[in-house]
Each structure stands twice: as C-alpha cells, then as structure tokens.
Subunit: 768 residues, 2 copies
C-alpha cells in the first residue's frame, strides 16, 4: 500500500485537504464516465501545477506511428491510441482581475472532493485566499449524463466571503490538445470549424488518419444567487478554441455561478455533416430539462445500475468502498450498448495501453457483465471478436499461418494488431485461447447456444486451426510441443511448453471439434454454411485431433505438479518471502534478464489454467499447485490477486483470500503499484467482483445450475450480491451465521449449496 | 550472390559504366581510410541522386539518446554513434554556368572507378555531356595519406572535348552535416568558428555532448595544363560552411584541374586550442611535398603493408580479389597505433552498428593483427579492454552483480554499454568469454606472458567472478546451469544452457584460476598488487571451482552431440536444404517468433565453441557436430561462414570449405546479404583471412610451435601467405603439388607440418 488519503466511506470516494502532490492521482481516482465518454478529474478553472489532462470519447482512436528501437519483421506499423479529446469542461475564472489557480493563490483550505458513486456525480469545494486577500468559497458539481450520453453538466459556484467581487466566468472549448503518449510529437486532431450560435459554441474537428469527425460543444448560463442573468457574453474565437466571457459582480456572501452543458457528438452515431445540429439537439434537450432535472435523472439511472450490481459488505468500510469503486468504474466504462466498443485496461481514466482491447475482456470482464447485466451485453462483447475474425486471420497469415488460422491480436482497436514487443506481440498467443474460453463460458452461464452456430463456431474453427499449426511435433518427446511462447506470466519470455498455453490449446481444439459435431447435429443449416465458408475437411479435423490427443505437458514427478514451462525446476527456487523488500517490485528494481531467470511469477499462469478448467482437476491437485506456485508469485500484474483470492477461498485459506481481496479491490485507491497517476486498472476490477462472487460466494455454474459454497472472511459481518442467471435475479446474503437466498420474478430456481440441492421460490427467503 | 558488377582483377576493385542504382553500393565498396579517418566514396562534385554521405574520424562519437518502444530497467540512456564528420572533399564544379551533376547531365559515358588496393588510391573518370552539348572528360584521384594521417588529397581534372569552357571550381568545407541514423533528428555538431588564411580554410566544430573538438581544413590550387594559376579565389563564408571559388577558362583539349588537400585535426591528438595551427602544419607539410610526392609515399606505405600481409591466390582471380579486398579494408580501418581505438563492424564505411566495438574484435580480428603486424597491435587491442575494466564492473553492478564481477558491454565506444535490446544487451553475455579467450590466444600466439600479470589477470578475475555469479545451481539437475542467455546464434533468445556459453564460462573460470596460480608463482609482486586490489580470497576461488567443476552441458546420447541449448531436439529439425528458397533469408521473410522456434542457426554457435577449443575435442567429435549443425546453419551473419570454412577444411570437406571461403571473402563485393549500401562488413574480413591461414593452411599454435596441415581447393593453382610468429616472418606457399616454407631473418624456426617436425632456416626454401 503506497497511499492512504482516501477517506473510508460506504458510498463515496472522498479526499480532504489540498495537496499538489496528489493532484494527478486524484485526477485518476475521481474520473467520471458514462460508457460513451469519460474524463479525468481535471479542474475546470486554470491549474498551472502538475496535471495530466484527459477527456476521452469511446471508440475514437488514432493509429500512432510505431516507435521501436530495433524493428522485427511482422511488427505493426501503427499503435492505436485512445485520444485525448477536445476539452469541453474548461471554465477560466477571473476574480477582481486575478485568474483563479489553486497552484498560485495564497492559500487553499477546506478542500474536499467527493465522487458520489451511488448517484454518479463528482463534487469539489474549497476556500481560496487570493493575492488581494479576498477569500472565496467555490463549489463545483459535475456529471456525465447516463441518459443523454453525449452530454455532461457542470455547476460552478463562487461566493466571495470577505468583500465584493467582479467575477469573469470564461467557459471555453479547446481542440488544441495533445496526447502525453504521442510517439513522434504528432498532432492527432485537425480542427475543421469553430462556430457559435447564441450562447452555444461548437468545434468540429476530425482525427488525423482515422478521420473520426466530432463536434465538441457547450452552452452556459450565469446566475447570481440562483437568478439567471440575461447577459450577452463576449466571444473570443481562435483557430482551435472558443470562449465566452460573462462578467458578474457580487457582494460578500452572495453567490455567482455558471452552469455549463457540454460534450461531444461523433460520426460513429451521426452523419458527419450533421454533428452540429445533433449537438444543438443534445443541448436543447439538456437545457430544457435544466441542470437539476438532469441530475435527478442521473441519480435514478445509477440507482437502477446499483439495484442489480451492488455488492454490500457489512463491518468493513474499506472493503465495501473498494468493491463499490470497482463496480462503479466498470459501469462508467462500458455499458454494453455498442458491439463495436470494448473495455480498455484504463477505461476513460488515462492514455496507457492505448485504450485498446486485451484478453482482459474475455478472461475477466465477461463474467461480471454476464451476471450483472442482460446477457446481450456479454453477447455483444463476443460479437466484437466475431467481427474481427477476418482481421485475426490476416494477422495469422502475416506470421506465416495458413488456411484460415486465426490469431487474435494482443492489443487492438479495430481488429488489427497494435503491439510491438516480439515477446508479447508474437508470442503471448494464449490470448487466442481466452477468446475461445469466453464462448464456452458464455454458453455455460447463459444457456444461449444460438451464439455458437450463428458466430462462435467460425471463431472456434479459426482458433483451433491456429493451435494445430502452431504446435509442432517433437520426435524427441514423441509429443506435440508449443515452442517459443510467453504465458500470462510475462516475467518469462520465449519459453517452451508453457503449461497454461499448451492446456488451453488442447482444450480449444477439443472444444471446437465438439462444437462442430454439435452444430452439425443440431443446426445443420448453419453447419453447411460454416463448413462451406471455412472449408473444413475430415482430414483437417483428424490432424487437429492428433495434436490435441498428443499434447505435451511438462510435469514434475517429484513435486507432483505441472510445470509452468520446460525447465522451471532449473531455477533458483527462492520464495518471494525470502526476497529482500528493497528488491520489490522487481519490475522496478531488477534488470529484465534477472527477472526472466528468476522463478518469480508476475501473475497467475499455471493457476490461471486451474481457474479456467477447475472441473478438470481435483481439489488436492489445486492445493498442490497453489502451494507450489503462490510462494513465487509477486502479483505485479493487476490481474493476478483475484485469481489467487478465488483459489485461496476454495481451499479454505481465508486469511490469504482476504488479503488478496483487499489488494485487488483497493489496488488503485491505495495505489499498491505506485502508478495510479497514469489511470485506473479498469479490467482487473471485474476480477475483484469475481473474488467475492466466485471466491467467497463460491458461485459456479455446473450442468445448467448455479452452485454456491459460501464462505466469509472473519473481518466481515455479512456480504451480499445479486446475480442475473438466465433472466432470474438471485440475491445472495452471507453472514457469519447463515446464508440466505432471495429470488425475484415468478419461477422457482433450483440451486446447489455446498452439496445440497435447494429450491428457491420467488419472494421467499431461503436460509441455510 | 546479389550483384556482379565489380570487374575481376588481382589488385583493384573496378566498376565500369554509370548506374545510378549502384551509387550507394559503390560508395561503400570504394571507401578509403587510413586508420585515423575514412570516408565513403562520395563524389566531390554535386550529386543530386540517391547517395549516402559519410566521412568519419576515428574515436569521435556521439551518445545519441536511446530510442526504444518499451523501456526495460537497465537499458542505457545513450547509444554511441559514429559521427558523419564535416565534409572536406567537396568541390562544386560549374562549367559554362552549369553545375556538373551526374544525376542531371545529358549523358555519362566511359565511367570508371578504380580502388587500387596495391597503392592505396581511388580514381574515377568519366565523360559527361552537359545541357549545352559540351562534352567534358573528368579524372579524379583521391587518397587518404598513411604518412600524414590527418591529410587527404584530391586531384580533380576537367578537359572540355568539343568546345571551350569557363570552369568554376568551388572547393568547400561543410559542417552542416547530419547522420542518417539519428534517433531524434538531433544536431550532432556545433560549429564554433569558420576562418580563412590565404588559400586555407578552417572550420572548428565540436560534437554535442561528447565535446570532441575538431578542425576540418582545406587548401587548394588550380592548374591549367599542369601550370599552377596564381589566382586569389573568392571566399564565401557561411555559418557552417566555407568555400573558395576559382575561375579558369580553357579551350577544347586543354585541362583545368584543382588539387585539394584537406582533413581533420582532433583534440584526441592536439590541444583543443591548437587545432588550427596543427591543421596549418599538416597543410604546410602536405603542400610542401606536393600531390605527387605524397602519392608516392602512399604507394610505398601500402607496399610495406602488403609486403607483410598479402595473400596470393593463383588461378582464381575472384578469390584473389576477395582476399585482398578484405586485407586492404582491415588495414584501412585499424593500424594499431592507438590503444583507445578499436575496430567497428563497418569501419569507416557506414553508420550501422555505431562504429562501436563488439566481440568481433577479440573473436575475429586479433588473430589477423597478431599474425600480420607487430604484436604490440594485438596487445593494444587487449589493453583497450583493460582500460574499460572499471566500466565493465559498473555495468555488471547495474545488472545486480557484486564484488568486482565484470560484464563487458555488447556494444561500446567508451566502455559503457550502448545497446538496448534486452535479449542481446543483457543476455548475450558470451562476449565476456571472448575477451578472456583473446588473452589466452594472445599469449598462445605471441608467447608474451607479461600482459597477464600486468593487466590481463585483473580482467580474467572480473570475468570469472561474473560467470560464477551468473551460473545458478539447479537442484533438479544437481549441476550449475546458466539460464536466460542468447548465444552467438542470435536466432535463439533467452535460452537455457547454451553449450557455447556454458563451455566458455567454465573455461574462463578454469583459466583464471590457472593464471592466478601462475602469476602467484612467477610474478609474485604483481600477484600481491592484484590480490590486494581485487580482494580475492581462497573461499572465493573455491566457489569458482565448484561452479566450473559442476557446469551442466546439454548432451544428446542419441545423436552423440552437445546440444546448442536445452530443448534443441524439440524443434522441427528440417534442414536448410529443405527450406523453400522463397523463405530465405529468413531474417527478411519470417516473423521473429517463427525464426526463434525454428532450428535455424544464424551463425556458428556450438561450432564456435569447437573452433575456440578445438584441442579439447577429437576430430570425430568435430565431424559429428559439424554434420549435425551445418545443415541447420543459414549463415545470415557475416561472422559465420569463415568458422565453417575452417572446420570444413580440417575435416577435408574441401568443396564446402571453398564455398564458405567465397561467401566470406566476397560477401560485400557480391553483396550476398543485400545490404552493402549500408557499408562493409569489416570485422568479418578478418575471418576471411582465418579461412585461408587456419582453414586451408591449417595453421595452429601448439606448445609454442607453429603447426600446419596445408590443403588447397581444386579451383586454385597455388596460394601463399606470410605470418609474423614471435618476430620471425614465415612465408607459406601451397600449390597443388607441394608446400614450401621460407623464413626471413637469422634464426631457424621449428615448425610442424602435418605430423612431421620441420626446421626452416632463413632464406632457405623448404619443400614438402
């Protein structure tokens, strides 16, 4: 844990006191988003101290020219970057001739930020003493509307406390922004037109290369003591910016305020020539409702989200705050309305990882969305990969594969590979397996088989073909081997026979073969269409089977464990506990070669396999592998602790499970990895949800039935969660003494709790 | 073989006919140098076609800010670059108002270039038709003086053939030059002062960051039909350039010419405030001698070099031309006068590899310099590494090693690591072994033990310490292993137990232990000094020995060969002969992962070990390993064919040996690797020399005695070479029927030829 300034609170993230050192961290932690757009918690008024400015529009990206030291064949030319979008939140505030700036004013007191997760808004208030000794009180409230997802709203209030003030509010739009992570200092935006109409302003701009057209817009009104001031503002129009200036004078104790609506319209949703008129419509709707009505709708919308997805924890405020922060951020990032969108590792909170799609979505996020949303959302995420199948086939061709083999990219925005580190781009091929696993997992959970004949089977065939071609026969071992890979544990590169990868490869082929048979029998027309399109033959399927049936898995007879890879036992097996503290995190302290030859595991790797394929191993086997690998795991990936938490819970090692839970749920709030300034770890937040539901709750789906093995950490009085299982909503409440189940709707649900079959009837509490 | 335009000739490199496509290749092939400076064969007059401009000064470099895609701990901040130095060769030629430019003139005929290797000069002649139909004949001769190594000379003659001509010769200096390989478009030179005195001009400039001060200078005279024209030129002084303009008018058939002396004085050799006066002295000496006398001295100087280092081949002009080109280029690059200099892989012929020092020097170049120069030259190259020992210890510390362990850099200009690809920078640690081996090899060849107590032992201790710490104990194998390395075969990365590396590591430790004992006994004062400085203890030496005695070597019982690395036999062992031609070179056709998991070997790796430690293996073992690995070797490194040529000769596989010889000796002339535009492969040229002397000649040193096992390819009538063995010069002449030995000097020399001891007496031909 590296920071401890967030106030514990059940529903809000609260910061008290102003510290310039914390500004960038708080900009990440207090980020807001509505699925269509999002932004870091940058101040509206001028701030000349260190800050990381970021506003992001879902699906709008830029292919930045790749930068590498030494080019390797096959590297992509471009790395997609999430774009820092034109700023619409800016409001410069001049008071008696002085720019309000928390970096330069005489003093700041009573500084308080609150991210109210229950209601979906961000507030900030403070008292500042200006150079001329004027004290002012400022209160700002901001939200991005879930209802009108092109619109955000700000209410900015200034009250002079000890004298009169002439206040100039200068709301502005600015498209002269840049990305911090630009590789070659290129401009990413081309401003096309800056225009105004009455008190509305518009900047039309398009992204370079990708040509996404956007209109950034705003409309403002000023008030004195809640009375709207009819005032024609001065307009200042620049090449890449536009501002209005309103001047109001108030006495001590009186409040001058400005309400600003703003946001983006994008040609992903509108004709590119209609963006200004779409913006006008959005502003019209918002201003007709007014700030307060829009805020009320926001509260209602969030209330509905929480109704389904909340997890309560009694008796442990930090744990409660942690899980809600995770659930809140996931919902801010992705709401599943658009199958061309996906979930970037940082969501709308930073530039890192380019806002692109990783295997995180399939391995971590889909279970969360399946259980807390309509199943269409998960289907939408699956369809995203189906839409990219052709690109995945092209990607595999670039690397020498043939005949429709598909290798999904490690990092992508539009289906093309973006990443350029050979050991990851070309070798971290396990990602392909997670995409197949998600199809299996979706059907297991939802029972919706239709996806497989409609789309999934083609994906499974492309992936199986890849694995069959990627495995090679070792005459020495008389088995198929997979050489030169990087597993989920990226602290090993170019290794042979990574257990997780080999196991997943075999599973993918077996599962594809099984589904081909099943579709052939049950959906014959689909089968004929797919067989015609993919040109699968008996001979080909036979070669698949030969690979799957003869796959090699490294195993230690001595330790009775599968080895993470060939040669793992040649390492110096010193546990993490015996590593000097000064050496950690090793990714900051050690050179890369030292990390590679060490036994230290960045994130669950063999254990990730045991997590995915739990049913195929006994609990004794799990225990043996957990006890073998956990001591070498440094969890320097955000995706690691949740898997270990789930497995520790299953093994009834509750102390460990709880420690891992805290680490995953408060990773960003407590800044475990010293990097929260860069943004939040959005995708791993779904892992936190899994730690509770699958870990402590012990929820599984087996044979179309929900299973539970509830446990509770000794630190908690009780916890509860809800899941949507095949359109039936089940609420589970676990306390130290009992577990209760409640069902919504009209139909009974049979579930299994520990070893007992239990029938839950609607509106009838079952206690166990 | 990818090009075939160089005319076969015993002593010269000749190009006939002008082809714009070949300009950059020829600029490399016709490069000239004198050990202190060198330059590509850029035209003196303006050339607006594609060209790669390069003039280089030995030891003057720039630490260019590193560019990487993904930063790893331990990467160096800077990559040293050889600097394109200010241009002194430029002479713009305006004829009747038109700039002479072979890219734009109406036609070019009779174009001919000759690099006369016997005499050390470059000439160029052509007939050009200008826009106004004037035909002119141009003859240019240029050389960089071996005697006055700060000075180069140009004689540039223009003869109008069909009309009169007013010719403006504009000799110039230009410091506004850039490197093609700059990472961030930085300027590398800061021009300090531009000045003239009479017909001399000077540009003082210093390199950014490194602050090398240089003075680039010139002095010119013009002639009509060999009569000097007393003419005050016009001077044009710019910020980064200076030119003189001379105007002469000549009739058809008359010759106008300009002689230009130019070059560099550098603060590596002079006080930085005295560079202009040093330049004046150099110009004074050169112009007092005059162009022709300086050229005669050049011929004499090269004659002396050839006297010692020539290799003759009868009956195979291309083979003869190849070996002389290699010997010529090596001597142009490095003459061994300065122990702060070393041999860059491209010498003075291009920017690639930054002009820095690699293990090439120790593994390939030292044998050539030992046998063809005074032994001080090789000692100087050894001392270069001794001077960098402190930096090598710092480098090891950065990677987590302790207690004086030394890891020499992969690439360096000043002892600091420059390279930034983790799989090479941090893992290609075998380079450390080559540095120790060179110490052994130097003593074996020269018998000069003094280097070891004076300097070498400290280097050996640092290196042994590194290997002891780098090896780790595998309880699984009950042996010491070396994990995570890249061997000489860079088509494998992050492998375990590379045979070559492990063998070298063990050898280094054993050899260091042996030398410590030997110095302790024979040079006790040195021993005490070194023991005090390095703080070696009995306990430490014991830990070294434990590692050396228990080193693991991967071995296949089935094939009876050492394996290149753990798991080599798991690969799909398809030989190069069975690879489709379209797939080669694989480094241009395949993605990196595909190369890595293939069995293909970029350059001799296990066989490199058999080359270094030949005495430790039987010929049967060599044959087994050669037959096992050769079929998988693609020789995509210039350093590979020579080793295979030597071993094929030893195994009496002369067809193979000859093929490899041609490949190594004509690598650049025939542009096997399609990259000669970038510069020449200087360091591998020493390998070509070894192919003849050690390969065909079978020369070895055993027990202080030269051994020979002469063989001759069937394509040759005879070949001869000379070696300087411990200040005795032996000439060896091998024909299809006999081998003769001739000795210079006064003392007999006992040599071993095949299995017979032979005494060679001075000036008395011995026939065998």
């Amino acid at each position: 844990m590296n920071q401890d300034y967030i106030q514990p609170d059940n529903w809000s993230i609260i910061e008290e006191g102003f510290d310039k050192e914390r500004v960038k961290s708080s900009e990440s932690l207090f980020s807001i988003g509505n699925g269509a757009m999002g932004q870091r918690a940058n101040f509206e008024e001028q701030y000349t101290g260190p800050t990381f400015q970021g506003s992001y529009i879902a699906g709008v990206y830029y292919p930045d020219k790749t930068r590498v030291g030494w080019w390797k064949n096959g590297y992509p030319e471009y790395f997609a970057k999430v774009l820092n979008a034109p700023n619409w939140i800016g409001i410069n505030v001049e008071i008696n001739g002085e720019q309000l700036d928390l970096n330069t004013c005489v003093s700041v007191s009573n500084f308080r930020r609150e991210l109210n997760m229950q209601e979906g808004w961000l507030s900030r208030s403070f008292t500042a003493t200006l150079q001329n000794n004027l004290e002012i009180e400022v209160k700002v409230l901001r939200f991005l509307s879930l209802d009108l997802d092109e619109v955000g709203a700000i209410n900015y209030q200034v009250t002079p406390l000890n004298g009169e003030a002439t206040i100039k509010f200068q709301p502005y739009l600015d498209s002269g922004i840049t990305n911090e992570d630009t590789n070659w200092d290129d401009q990413f935006w081309d401003t096309l037109n800056v225009s105004t109409e009455n008190e509305q302003a518009f900047i039309e701009a398009k992204t370079m290369k990708t040509g996404f057209h956007t209109c950034t817009f705003m409309q403002s009104s000023v008030f004195v003591n809640n009375t709207k001031q009819e005032q024609r503002p001065e307009t200042d129009k620049q090449e890449n910016a536009i501002s209005f200036t309103y001047t109001v004078s108030v006495n001590a104790g009186e409040t001058a305020s400005i309400q600003k609506f703003g946001g983006y319209t994008v040609d992903r949703n509108h004709d590119k020539n209609q963006l200004v008129s779409a913006a006008k419509r959005a502003l019209h709707t918002a201003s007709n409702l007014g700030f307060n009505a829009l805020l009320n709708k926001q509260k209602e919308a969030w209330s509905k989200i929480w109704e389904m997805s909340d997890i309560t924890i009694d008796g442990d405020v930090k744990a409660q705050q942690g899980i809600r922060f995770n659930i809140f951020q996931l919902n801010q990032t992705y709401l599943g309305k658009d199958s061309t969108l996906n979930i970037g590792p940082k969501g709308f909170t930073g530039e890192k990882y380019g806002g692109s799609t990783y295997w995180d979505t399939e391995a971590y996020c889909i279970p969360f969305y399946m259980a807390t949303k309509d199943q269409k959302v998960a289907r939408s995420l699956l369809q995203y990969r189906y839409n990219h199948l052709e690109k995945a086939i092209e990607n595999a061709e670039k690397l020498g594969f043939k005949n429709g083999a598909a290798l999904y990219p490690m990092v992508t925005m539009n289906g093309e590979e973006c990443h350029n580190e050979w050991e990851i781009t070309f070798e971290e091929i396990h990602r392909n397996g997670a995409i197949a696993f998600a199809i299996f997992n979706y059907y297991r959970y939802t029972g919706d088989y239709s996806y497989i004949p409609e789309m999934g089977l083609e994906v499974l065939i492309g992936i199986a073909r890849f694995w069959q071609q990627r495995a090679t026969f070792s005459t020495d071992k008389n088995k198929y081997v997979i050489l030169g890979v990087t597993g989920p544990n990226e602290y090993e590169n170019n290794i042979n026979n990574n257990f997780y990868t080999n196991y997943l490869a075999k599973w993918c082929i077996d599962y594809a073969l099984e589904q081909i048979e099943k579709v052939k029998e049950g959906h014959h027309e689909d089968y004929l269409r797919i067989a015609g399109k993919t040109k699968i033959t008996h001979e080909e399927l036979h070669t698949w089977k030969k690979v799957a049936d003869n796959m090699f898995f490294p195993y230690s007879e001595k330790h009775q464990v599968y080895l993470q890879q060939d040669g793992f036992l040649d390492k110096e097996l010193i546990t993490v506990a015996d590593l000097p503290k000064a050496d950690r995190p090793i990714n900051q302290k050690w050179s890369w070669d030292r990390i590679l030859r060490s036994p230290y595991i960045k994130q669950a790797d063999t254990l990730q396999g045991f997590y995915f394929f739990e049913d195929q191993f006994s609990t004794e086997e799990l225990k043996r592998h957990f006890d073998f690998y956990e001591p070498f795991t440094v969890h320097e990936s955000s995706l690691s602790p949740c898997v270990h938490s789930i497995q520790a819970a299953k093994l009834d090692q509750m102390e460990q499970a709880y420690t891992f839970y805290l680490r995953t749920s408060r990773l960003d709030l407590d800044d475990y990895n010293k990097e929260v300034e860069e943004g939040l770890h959005i995708t791993s937040m779904a892992g936190t949800w899994m730690s509770i539901v699958e870990g402590f709750g012990g929820m599984r789906v087996k044979n179309d039935t929900l299973h539970f093995e509830p446990r509770i950490p000794k630190e908690w009085e009780a916890y509860s969660f809800k899941v949507n299982f095949r359109d039936q909503i089940l609420k589970v409440n676990v306390s130290q003494s009992e577990t209760t189940f409640e069902l919504e709707g009209n139909t009974d649900l049979n579930i299994q709790v520990n070893d007992n079959l239990v029938t839950v009837s609607p509106n009838n509490l079952v206690k166990i």
